[in-house]
Subunit: 535 residues, 2 copies
């Protein structure tokens, strides 16, 4: 008993000391360094490297920290606008994943090439029939030359998906994919599969049916890349009205774009690539729409703009229409994941889902010990699943997304696979509001991956400030500025709030209890309250 | 033949002289007077009275000009803010209608009192059953003491409806009715009859189904007055988006209020009284709603405001909801007309209706001789009907209402009855836009009642300026300012445009052809083009 007490005491002291070091001494040192930096800039470069290297090098069991061999990309903090490069050069962003065997990759090359070939022949068959039908019906269709390209960026993106993330940090095909989505010729437009399944009918007895849902379209590029197009429905400076429930909020194309950039900056890489684009909805949508249903929803507005409205019957009104100016319309293009036939996914209800009713409350909203229950339940009782949920809640809190009712995983990677952060269009609705309840998984479970925490702390430093790296990252998008300044600055404020929640947990439970070494620490361990009960 | 020619010559010369007097000499005189006024104010009052009296006294066959007996109300132009009083004291606004026999009134006193008694007993029966049912279902209902008042303002309004207008200029019960609507206790709230007929279903195959339609409610006051409540859905400074079709535009409560004031200022008196009111949608709607269906659409928003949404299934979403702050919500209250059982009305398609489709065009939009066709058709081939349509088009042009698909008349007054200008909530959408096509009946038929023209000319004078009298009139409403300044100023600009259209007609066809003596000149006479053909 004495030995155990002594052990606990040492653990507590270590935790307190670590916390002190991280949260008190370090910021002080840093602010001092900044003050010095102003009067004497020559030392700053030398100062920061060892300091950060010494403190922030993660001790992650399955991950190996490999100093970069290529000297040019080595970590070297730069001034001014180059914070993003500096961030991605930081050791924390250069932890190498273990070598991947076939089991570590979502798809094998042969399998995907076979899938691509089938796509091509299906398209050719479709076009043959369609052109005949169009000739009979006297419909003019824009025809584009298709290309079969085994080096297509979307193919490489699909091949790069592995058990750790959707893409690797240094994957150049992602950069190419973003460029292709921004520029490549669009050869066809259609409703998405979700839409087709509805067949134009909607269940309107469900008051809380998500809105705006039905304005998204599936576009195909000339190299057979498939993207989901969400048109702009809200101006950048428009805030979500305060009386809106999260489930009726607009879907924002810019939120989709910004969420991809944020996810990459947080090094999660769980959001498929998203690019902004000004789409010509006449030439690039209407004239390449093969479905009569889709063509029928296009019209010319009183202001002579081309518009289209949602197909679903209950949104059969032009109030829901979006219009080009006169044809150009901003939108987000999200890369499709590999088809479910070759890469099946599971959609799992989020344990911290909200009540999609006007007055209902879910258990987590009323029971402060909800996490203890969840920790006992499969699949949250072992492995990383709960920590992944907490990562997701941090991501959602930063973007202000309250609409995470489900999450998806690839069946292939089993319960240890990462969670996909799909459908982020309801983020960035109100820059003034920090919805603390989104952080419930973190604040109720009081645990966080060490790697996540270290990156959050890094992004809270003025050297890498989250808003600055986001601003810089978004400059690469044609729809820059994707977010208004208040939304960017809200990220910094929210990041501080995440760190404060972690701090409070550490104060209450100790460093070791809260900060979990990724990939080793099991999540199903008695909580502090339970331990007290045992004593 | 000679005699007829000489008569025509004299008529033409008179017309030219009158036009010259009205449009050239008078404005010159007036601007000179204004210049003098600045250096010498003492004469202004004396100058204007004889001038206006001498020129503007209308020579309307069935109407008799009776100078006011009451000296205090006699016409005497005042300075500054009292333009409205001055306007209503003007001789043009003091033409007496002929003495009305029973046939001239819509309802007889006994008939209405009997109707009122039936209402009261129906209410008592309803409340008896309802209270029993509520007790069983454990529903708390606010109960209000009802009053049976044979002197109620709404009763007097109904009794005052006659073959010339909905109310007389000097009817004090209208003032009382506005006050009652603004202040009287609301004892019940329900869907309107239109709504009930729909039974919650909507025909969504009709893409162009008017929107917002379904947020209106019928409210009952404690003296059994019934009003239609249209809640605020758009901020005063919000303009209708340029891509909206007229048929999907919002309904604006402030447009309803402003339209009533404008109609009264134009001396049409064809819009039932409308007052603004801040309604407590919890205490004055939810808690007095006896219909379970209606109570079910109420909810509390994330910002803790009380809200309700439309019942119709295709608008079953909170995007359509309106919310109080936290309970108070602005709205327009329009007095109900007498029930159809005692005062049946006909709803007649407007010959100048628009195509309620995205691309369709109606004949009047493409055929410049459309009016010639209409003039041959019953009931537009005789009497005042076409002139009434033209009055209505001027009214709609001034408010910018493109949504006049039907008009109503009281069956009792037959084809010579006035047209009701009901449902004006789609006016005042865009202050920047003057939709000239609304004036098609005027510009295509090139005719106007002399009495209407004289009043329009009066309102174009700086002494009475339409925007000034409107601003003043709206000051009486609790929701003042009902219209923003740009909307008020648009009225002046549009009035000028109406007068220019009349001027162009006169230049083309002559005064006598265009300006029609009310109640005598038949409308079915050969047009100028036809006359040319004859010669």
């Amino acid at each position: 008993m004495m030995r155990r007490d002594r052990f606990l005491l040492v653990a507590t002291l270590t935790a307190v000391f670590s916390a002190d070091l991280y949260f008190i001494l370090l910021p002080k040192l840093q602010s001092m360094r900044q003050t010095w930096g102003h009067s004497c800039t020559c030392d700053s470069n030398n100062l920061s490297l060892p300091r950060l290297e010494g403190l922030a090098t993660p001790q992650l069991s399955n991950w190996t920290y490999v100093p970069l061999l290529d000297g040019t990309a080595a970590y070297e903090p730069a001034e001014g606008d180059a914070k993003l490069e500096k961030l991605f050069a930081h050791p924390l962003y250069n932890i190498q994943t273990p070598v991947l065997g076939p089991e570590g990759r979502l798809l094998q090359t042969e399998q995907l090439i076979e899938y691509y070939r089938k796509k091509v022949s299906r398209w050719e068959r479709h076009m043959k029939f369609y052109n005949e039908a169009a000739a009979v019906a006297n419909i003019t269709v824009t025809k584009h030359e298709m290309i079969y390209d085994p080096d297509a960026s979307w193919l490489k993106f699909h091949l790069g998906i592995n058990r750790f993330a959707l893409y690797s940090r240094d994957d150049l095909s992602i950069v190419q994919l973003l460029k292709d989505m921004q520029n490549m010729t669009i050869v066809s437009a259609d409703y998405t599969q979700d839409e087709k399944a509805l067949k134009g009918a909607c269940d309107c007895t469900q008051v809380v049916k998500p809105s705006g849902h039905h304005l998204k379209l599936a576009l195909k590029m000339r190299n057979f890349a498939k993207v989901m197009f969400k048109p702009m429905r809200q101006q950048r400076d428009e805030e979500t009205p305060e009386d809106f429930f999260y489930f009726v909020d607009f879907q924002r194309h810019n939120a989709e774009i910004a969420a991809f950039h944020l996810d990459r900056i947080l090094d999660f890489r769980r959001v498929p690539p998203v690019a902004g684009r000004r789409v010509n909805i006449t030439g690039e949508v209407l004239q390449v729409a093969h479905s009569e249903d889709l063509r029928a929803v296009f019209f010319t507005s009183p202001a002579n703009n081309t518009c289209f409205f949602a197909k679903c019957l209950y949104v059969c009104k032009t109030e829901y229409a979006v219009c080009g100016s006169p044809d150009l319309l901003e939108g987000s293009l999200s890369a499709y994941l590999p088809g479910l036939s070759i890469a099946p996914r599971l959609s799992i209800p989020n344990p911290w889902t909200r009540s999609y009713t006007f007055a209902g409350r879910e258990e987590w909203e009323v029971n402060p010990f909800y996490c203890d229950t969840i920790k006992q339940l499969y699949p949250y009782n072992s492995g990383n699943r709960l920590l992944n949920i907490i990562d997701m809640s941090i991501f959602d809190f930063l973007i202000g997304n309250m609409d995470r009712h489900h999450y998806e995983i690839f069946t292939k990677f089993g319960d240890e696979g990462f969670l996909l952060h799909l459908d982020n269009a309801r983020g960035f609705g109100k820059h003034t509001r920090d919805e603390m309840s989104i952080l419930a998984p973190l604040s109720q479970c009081c645990m966080i991956k060490r790697s996540t925490l270290l990156r959050l702390q890094l992004l809270a430093q003025s050297e890498f400030r989250l808003s600055d790296v986001m601003r810089e990252s978004l400059k690469g998008d044609p729809l820059w500025p994707v977010l208004t300044e208040p939304h960017l600055l809200a990220l910094d404020r929210r990041l501080q709030k995440v760190l404060r929640v972690v701090q409070r947990c550490i104060r209450r439970l100790g460093d070791d209890e809260v900060i979990t070494k990724d990939f080793i620490k099991p999540t199903a361990r008695p909580t502090a309250t339970e331990m007290k009960k045992v004593r």
